[in-house]
Symmetry: C2
């Protein structure tokens, strides 16, 4: 058994791990990452980047399909699945290429040890059965893995996840997408628009992260109008066929699909790390982590990235990695850093965004709200993208913006405006003094803010948000 | 001659005039607008709205044309010019319809007098030869008209302006677009993308409002690559043909066009208003107007909207109208109001935006800059929109953002982010604590801001910006 000594040991060489290493080094301490691969980060390899590439192709196909309303006659078109996947993989490889270059350097310099690591003592991580890493502090940045709900656990190769999808050389004829959360919505709608016969099934009425009943209601209708979208489906049975497909029986229907794309959420990779054995932690319920510090309980072990199960987003993983790496380097001295305003975006069409407090979170306190119906918004109508609804939440006392749930055209951009405003604790009055150009979708946001301002004198929504839910 | 008495007389019933009237009424004063028509506002009738409608169709055609790179094979398409113009006019009429409803009410209620008004005494406006409006204060909100450069002044019906274009029932085969400013760029590129053989000619190397040499250089190349773009053309002659077309001889070439679209800028409508005769004002050089007040000199006459020749934009016309109307109502008591941060957007592709101080304006002081090359930006590349360059300008002392010139994908949105930051006097340090999602074009703006931050320790760019110009 080889022995390596370092100040900070980092489990994982993804976005959080790489940032943790850099931060520890910047603080003047040695750091070693441990990761069995595949390398290249979840985001660049099988997450945000390739999904946006698939969506880009889907959006182009959708634009061509719906060109007629503008007087542009697309008389004949077809989606070349091989060419679609070729571009997706080629560009994806370009993005991961930048990461892989640095990974090679880390491997060569001994800053990254290839293998699966687990704690075997409070200050020792054993990598496979070949290396012992002795450390002062550690960072867990092991990411997450797809969750597979029970009815699907016996399926064989017919079932893939986002990892498998981005290995495709061609598009299938048909796909059953399981999960109406973020990944299911993005990939399911994209496949549908690329001509794959797609069913998108989920439970509990889930539509991504949306919690506002009115915004959900509008989104529900839009997705149901476009594709076979059943986010409250009743499972009967699933049968794997000899020819490689499946038959799903659900909702009194029977449908055959070439492939099953599992997108029913992800679970943090906290098992088999020795956390129970060495530290006595229950992995289903780790000691409290203050996200402004990244420390697990009062220990010398820090945690960052998707494994925290808090905000599984690239930009948060970067921040958390830096924070955990810096604090792991200086521990027992640690520094709390303010977090950025919460911002989550789902690249469906229309897009979904969650900014600051969600409806559900805002409900716990009581708040006033404003809204805009994007079906009547000028620029959205000009571009034939007039679908959606946005709700903004603010303090009834002084109109400070506290959150928003957004479903509408280009909300990836307007969500940034609102997130920055929330982080700066701006009131609706402040925001309405800012420039809004014409004609832009930002004017829709202004409408929502004006609607919030006009409601500030009304009695607060009581906690539980009963009235708001009933009025929806 | 009919006699009408009012507190505030308003010349013009466009965006500025309508807002001035509402503000005067809100301040408890009577107000009468005078306008010969056509009604419906420049923006909704012949400006921002119909141009965005034409651009929306052009963008769809362009997407279909360039779909191949995504693996989407559009094997056969054609632009149905009649259907394109039908949608443009139908939606345009819907937008103007909202305005025209209120216009009818104003006419009926005597709040709007149809006719051409001119000052005939310091407190009298005469409308055609039928009505005398006696007033305490007045607001000039007469808008602007297309400017026609000398070589084209003798052309007949073959020449149209934006007003004529939006009356088309079909697209022409070919068009000569005169002017590489805002309107020429937007409409010229749109016509080109809709299959009209288009030449876009201009002088002085003009590309919309751009003044930053580096941003201009990149834009120049992009527009030249896409279409016959000559913004420093050498005029030889223009000849109107009997069949209704023209032949332009310029740059040693000879080209025939079906139509000439005049888009060489607009001039404020200040002539024939009696301003010289009654007030002794030189209309080429009106007394100073403080835009935070809207008053002409020290007089009881206010001015608002495009006629000010300051920021000829819808949202500024609304603000100016409200301001002028409110001050005209309370005069001689007047209130100065802060203006919004400057924001101008040109809906070409890539889009152009000007935020805060331009390069030229910033040069007068001295500043530090940052930049991003959008050809290498992640999300822009994903969407096949990786063209453009953005420069941001900041105070070298503390990094306060002061302006930006932008050419790139979706800058209509990122320009809002920067404009709001400038209005709030944020520094680059402040802005970089805000959330930037991944992958989004906003990350390109972060790159530019980081580049500005890294240059803050460098010596200031001396006034005149010689070094920056030379380095470009």
């Amino acid at each position: 058994m080889k022995k390596v000594t370092t100040h900070v040991a980092i489990l994982g060489a993804g976005t959080a791990g790489l940032n943790a290493r850099r931060a520890a080094e910047k603080a003047g301490k040695s750091a070693v990452m441990i990761d069995p691969g595949p390398y290249g980060t979840t985001c660049a390899r099988v997450g945000c980047m390739p999904s946006k590439l698939l969506i880009a192709a889907a959006e182009v196909a959708h634009t061509a399909h719906t060109a007629d309303m503008f007087g542009v006659r697309v008389e004949s078109m077809k989606v070349d699945g091989k060419a679609v996947m070729d571009r997706v993989k080629r560009e994806r490889d370009r993005f991961t290429g930048f990461v892989l270059e640095s990974i090679d350097e880390h491997l060569e310099a001994g800053r990254l040890i290839k293998g699966r690591g687990r704690f075997t003592a409070p200050n020792v991580i054993t990598v496979d059965d070949h290396t012992e890493v002795h450390f002062e502090t550690a960072v867990i940045a092991t990411g997450s893995s797809p969750f597979v709900p029970p009815p699907f656990r016996d399926l064989g190769d017919v079932m893939i996840d986002n990892e498998g999808l981005f290995d495709w050389d061609d598009l299938p004829q048909s796909a059953l997408v399981v999960g109406t959360g973020v990944i299911g919505l993005e990939l399911g709608q994209a496949l549908h628009r690329l001509g794959v016969r797609t069913s998108l099934i989920g439970i509990d009425g889930l539509i991504g992260p949306l919690s506002d009943p009115k915004v959900k209601e509008v989104a529900q209708k839009v997705f149901e109008d476009e594709l076979d979208f059943r986010n409250d489906y009743q499972f009967e049975s699933i049968e794997e066929l000899e020819d490689g497909g499946v038959i799903l029986r659900a909702d009194g229907r029977e449908d055959r699909y070439d492939t099953v794309l599992m997108a029913a959420g992800r679970v943090p990779n906290v098992r088999n790390l020795g956390l129970e054995e060495v530290f006595g932690w229950d992995t289903r319920n780790l000691p409290t982590v203050d996200p402004r510090i990244g420390q697990i309980g009062e220990s010398h072990v820090f945690i960052a990235g998707d494994v925290t199960n808090d905000r599984p987003l690239l930009h948060e993983a970067s921040d958390e990695g830096r924070l955990a790496g810096a604090n792991a380097a200086t521990w027992p001295e640690i520094t709390a850093r303010p977090r950025r305003a919460p911002l989550g975006i789902i690249f469906s069409d229309p897009q979904i965004a969650m900014v600051g407090k969600s409806f559900r979170e805002a409900c716990d306190a009581g708040f006033c709200w404003g809204e805009v119906d994007y079906s009547r918004q000028g620029r959205a109508r000009v571009n034939g993208k007039n679908k959606g609804w946005v709700r903004v939440y603010g303090s009834c006392e002084d109109g400070t913006l506290i959150g928003a749930e957004m479903f509408g055209p280009h909300v990836e951009h307007t969500a940034h405006l609102l997130a920055w405003a929330i982080q700066q604790r701006m009131t609706v009055h402040d925001i309405l003094t800012m420039p809004f150009y014409h004609p832009v979708v930002e004017e829709g946001i202004r409408t929502a803010l004006q609607s919030l301002r006009s409601r500030l004198h009304l009695p607060e929504v009581p906690n539980g948000c009963k009235e708001l839910i009933e009025s929806s």
